[in-house]
């Protein structure tokens, strides 16, 4: 049985797709056969970030409609042979996504994969609700700003009441916080919420902080998940997150400003 992870946020553009690609790659690199599904019907972003957009023949909706088999639609990643992508349809409308259809696809994937990562669309509409419905774990991607935190809070409400686990009265979905695009300098200036501010409102288990980093854009332009850029801070942050998720103990990083750290080291006497 696969473990189903939903990467969700409520608010758009906070880094869900970046995160989905990174952690799916991270899990696969650690030897776990992983599938990542793009639930953002009509937009199709995940395949770009994973650099497989030119190999898309069939998509998620084709599989749901029985027009293609899962094996025909799944794309094997070029960097890691344990990672598979199920792309979203760019042309179909969202109505084609049904709970029954999604359930069937996830059931079939579960037989063969260890982890299934669901990249949720923004909003709290049908697509987002379907992406989380079957989840076991939720990675709640949040930016350190009040509107993102509010939307995450709202998403957490939906996770705890509208999921299959909630409906069946099973153990609730495990919820984790991923604080992304974190910039300690801007936190210090009061332009961004601090980790403590965010946690005061959400009180979630923190899986990791991903700093604001140019390497994210560079990586997505190159079609390579940023986690493979081991030199970048964002890549390291995602690697930490995957390790923590798998139960390793890693201290949190990227909370303090680098400048602050160095000035503490060298400028202590001033």
């Amino acid at each position: 049985m696969a473990r189903i992870i939903v990467v969700t946020s409520g608010k758009g553009g906070v880094g869900k797709t970046t995160t989905s690609a990174a952690i799916a790659m991270g899990l696969a690199k650690k030897g776990h056969k992983t599938a990542v599904i793009d639930f953002d019907v009509g937009l199709r972003n995940l395949d770009l970030i994973l650099g497989c957009e030119r190999r898309v023949v069939y998509d998620f909706i084709n599989v749901i409609n029985g027009e293609a088999s899962l094996n025909q639609a799944l794309i094997r990643d070029k960097n890691c042979n344990l990672l598979y992508i199920l792309p979203a349809s760019q042309t179909r409308d969202k109505e084609a996504l049904t709970q029954e259809g999604v359930g069937k696809v996830l059931d079939e994937l579960s037989k063969d994969f260890e982890y299934i990562v669901c990249d949720s669309p923004a909003g709290i509409e049908k697509g987002a609700n379907l992406a989380l419905y079957f989840a076991d774990d939720a990675f709640v991607v949040t930016n350190p700003e009040i509107s993102s935190v509010r939307d995450s809070d709202r998403m957490l409400g939906i996770l705890s009441s509208k999921s299959r686990r909630a409906e069946r009265g099973e153990e609730p979905i495990k919820e984790y916080l991923l604080l992304t695009r974190y910039d300690p300098d801007r936190v210090k200036n009061g332009e961004m919420l601090s980790l403590d501010d965010v946690q005061e409102i959400l009180s979630l288990q923190l899986l990791g902080i991903i700093p604001e980093s140019k390497s994210v854009l560079t990586a997505s332009n190159a079609g390579v998940p940023v986690i493979l850029d081991e030199k970048s801070e964002a890549g390291q942050a995602y690697a930490d997150i995957v390790s923590r998720y798998l139960g390793e103990d890693r201290p949190h990083r990227f909370i303090e400003s680098k400048k602050g750290f160095f000035s503490k080291l060298f400028g202590g006497k001033k």
Binding site: I124, R150, D153, R154, L156, G157, S160, S161, I201
Partner: protein, 255 residues
């Protein structure tokens, strides 16, 4: 699909619907009161199913047109789905509107009524002046105290979530901004309260709100309310209790 599968199945379940008890037949007054209530919690009441309780009105033999009441409720945004405590004529009107008559609960009402009137009944039977009629039948039902269990919430109440308790409500976890908790009785929040809390929503002016860390967007008891704008800075972020005194909400710190 193989055609030996059944086409349908009945399952037993419960369906949550608030009860609207009418005390007066003044249609204009009812409309005003309803709109005021709906304004307080528009999301909660929107498209809400509703059971109309006419027992109070009929107890005082006031005339009321059930058709008119139904139309009014639909206009305000409710879906009347039941009538209880109606008389012969009102029940007939309900049937014509396809609104079911809730008879099971009428028995419960009877018990409550009996409980209230118990001293009187007892007195009469003491003096042995009571004829062996209806009242004896009522007396045969053992008087039962009206007890509604408190609702306990241990999970965070997140933005967009609403909780309704028909008795007291006890929340052990935080209540986020944008969340709404309502109770017909008291509300206790042993954590941070950032959302809206409405106690005594059926008009119980003795209801209170207790909270450990007061940062609410809105608090209300029996319809009297204050928004965060009117909330005293002194009590902000402190443990407080809130109660009604002569229609004024009093907020005091709990030391």
């Amino acid at each position: 699909m193989p055609n030996n599968l059944p086409v349908l199945e009945f399952k037993s379940s419960t369906f949550f619907a608030p009860i609207l008890i009418l005390f007066n037949n003044d249609i204009v007054g009812i409309e005003e009161a309803l709109e005021k209530k709906v304004k307080l919690a528009p999301e909660f009441f929107k498209d809400s199913p509703l059971i109309i309780d006419l027992s109070e009105i009929n107890k005082h033999s006031k005339e009321i047109d059930f058709v008119q009441i139904t139309q009014l409720l639909r206009r305000v945004g409710f879906f009347p789905v039941g009538i209880r405590g109606g008389n012969e004529q009102q029940n007939q009107q309900a049937r014509e509107l396809f609104i079911p008559i809730d008879t099971v609960r009428e028995l419960t009402n009877l018990i409550i009524t009996d409980e209230k009137n118990k001293p009187e009944v007892a007195q009469k039977s003491d003096s042995q002046a009571m004829p062996a009629t209806k009242q004896e039948a009522i007396h045969a039902i053992p008087p039962r105290p009206v007890y509604v269990a408190a609702t306990l919430i241990t999970q965070p109440v997140r933005s967009g979530q609403r909780i309704y308790a028909s008795g007291d409500l006890v929340v052990m976890s935080q209540v986020s901004a944008g969340a709404e908790i309502m109770a017909e009785g008291n509300i206790h929040v042993y954590n941070t309260l950032r959302g809206r809390a409405l106690a005594g929503v059926h008009g119980n002016t003795a209801a209170r709100i207790f909270c450990f860390d007061m940062q609410a967007e809105l608090i209300s008891i029996a319809g009297d309310y204050k928004t965060s704008e009117d909330l005293n800075k002194q009590t902000y972020r402190n443990p407080v209790q809130i109660y009604l005194q002569n229609h004024a909400l009093i907020i005091t710190e709990i030391v």
